[in-house]
């Protein structure tokens, strides 16, 4: 299956930089409260992936997942990962560098 997620050049650069700093990474598209529409960038394997999660694709060697029911309800055929200034406020690793990832359709 073709990847359902692509990244902007700026996001790919950020992934490369973060990978050099933290090692192999994973991304999980969150939902709900607070930063709920943001993806969460974590060391690979930090969040246990279950049978009800969907792999959207890989970006720079980094797997990107979403909860399967959320994916069905969001009904986005494709995702674009981008990055913007301002720290991510959750556990997401890029927040330490004063930036945050976001997904667009």
């Amino acid at each position: 299956m073709a990847d359902r997620i692509v990244a902007t050049d700026a996001a790919l650069e950020a992934i490369e930089r973060l990978t050099a700093k933290h090692g192999r990474l994973m991304l999980f598209q969150s939902g709900g409260c607070c930063d709920g529409s943001s993806p969460l960038c974590l060391p690979d394997g930090e969040l246990l992936i279950g049978p009800n999660d969907t792999l959207l694709g890989e970006l720079g060697g980094m797997p990107v997942y979403i909860d399967a029911e959320q994916d069905e309800r969001w009904n986005r055929p494709r995702f674009v990962l981008d990055v913007a200034p301002g720290p991510a406020s959750g556990f997401s690793l890029e927040g330490l560098d004063g930036i945050h990832f976001l997904t667009r359709s």
Partner: protein, 365 residues
């Protein structure tokens, strides 16, 4: 099959409720203090949301003479550095988290690894349902219902229970929305510290961008913009601030603006034909945190309240947060309850001291 444990709570004086709400919101956004383990006699470490570091520190200053040193400890900073270190620390006996679903899963995972209990509140997309009989009379109850819809606008990026989906009976839609839109148009935006301000600034630039992006999505998926939809330019010293107009879209429940939590003053409105359809739309969501039911028919209010899969169903009111009312979610809105005696139970152990005062042996073997 989950049992429906219904708890009836009568509402309190509205001025007190509003004060409590402000306090609760400040505490929640800054560390879920209302869920605080200290209420149950435990020492507590609070990690406030990083965009809002200050108000909980101010609150701590106010109570510093009341509590012994070390009972409440506040740690500010980025979640990636501090959140994980706290959540995985072996000295933590119970963990509570308010935030988004992926971090909620992480918290529950860390709790499982350390074999400690956890509770989570992970947001919602709360339906606010207005039945035709709210317009049976032109009276103060109708005015209260209009106000109940407009409460969606009370969201600067901190209100998990924002009534962000309004479901309105098709027979009253035009007239009811006309009244609501007029009231929304009168909302005064301004400096957050000005007491006459009704809607202040959004919590961060990234939150503003998110709201703008969802408004764009709403337009692209064909929703009808009824009011707002843009950044507010308030001029003067507020120029360029994170102000967003109270916004209403009309559409249908499958649209993304009805399914995704925007966390800003953005309402998605749709209509329903009968009670069954209202219920179907209300429950057609990943979440189940809050809900509102507005009707003059008490039996309908009970039927709907029982059937809506949400942890709190405000009935002929919204956004009241009395301390004795259980609060928390069904489905992806999380696990456990805040407030109420149930909250104390989350932070307590049940111990059974089974004591015999009979000196004689059982007589077995």
């Amino acid at each position: 099959m989950a049992r429906n444990r219904s708890i009836m709570v009568s509402t309190v004086d509205r001025r007190i409720a509003l004060m409590r709400h402000h306090r609760c919101i400040a505490a929640r956004r800054d560390g879920s203090l209302r869920n605080c383990a200290a209420h149950a006699g435990n020492c507590t470490v609070l990690k406030p949301a990083s965009p809002t570091p200050w108000s909980i520190l101010r609150f701590a200053e106010l109570i510093q003479d009341v509590l012994p040193a070390g009972v409440i400890n506040i740690v500010n900073g980025p979640g990636a550095e501090i959140g994980r270190a706290l959540a995985t620390n072996k000295r933590i006996a119970k963990i509570s988290f308010t935030g988004e679903t992926a971090t909620g899963r992480l918290i529950m995972q860390y709790a499982a690894q350390n074999i400690i209990p956890s509770t989570t509140e992970l947001g919602g997309k709360s339906p606010n349902i207005f039945f035709a009989d709210v317009m049976a009379h032109d009276d103060s109850f109708l005015d209260k219902a209009v106000e109940g819809l407009v409460l969606y606008a009370f969201n600067k990026g901190e209100v998990c229970t924002c009534p962000s989906r309004a479901l309105i009976h098709e027979s009253i839609y035009d007239e009811f929305m006309e009244r609501c839109l007029q009231r929304i148009g009168e909302i005064r935006q301004g400096h957050p510290l000005d007491p006459s301000t009704m809607l202040g600034a959004q919590v961060s630039t990234s939150q503003m961008e998110k709201i703008q992006s969802y408004c764009q999505i709403g337009m692209e998926e064909g929703a009808e913009l009824l009011i707002g939809g843009h950044r507010s330019e308030l001029g003067g010293e507020l120029n360029g601030g994170n102000y967003f107009q109270p916004t209403v879209f009309k559409g249908h429940n499958k649209m993304r603006i009805f399914q995704e939590e925007i966390f800003g003053p953005v309402l998605a409105v749709t209509t329903f034909a009968d009670d069954a359809e209202a219920l179907e739309i209300a429950n057609d969501t990943l979440y189940g945190l809050g809900a509102g039911v507005w009707t003059r028919d008490a039996t309908r209010a009970y039927r709907m309240g029982r059937a809506i899969k949400a942890g709190r169903v405000w009935t002929n009111c919204y956004h009241q947060y009395p301390a004795h009312a259980a609060f928390g979610g069904y489905k992806a809105s999380g696990v456990g309850r805040e407030n109420h005696q149930m909250m104390l139970e989350h932070y307590s152990q049940t111990k059974c001291l089974l004591v015999s005062y009979d000196p004689e042996p059982l007589g077995f073997f």
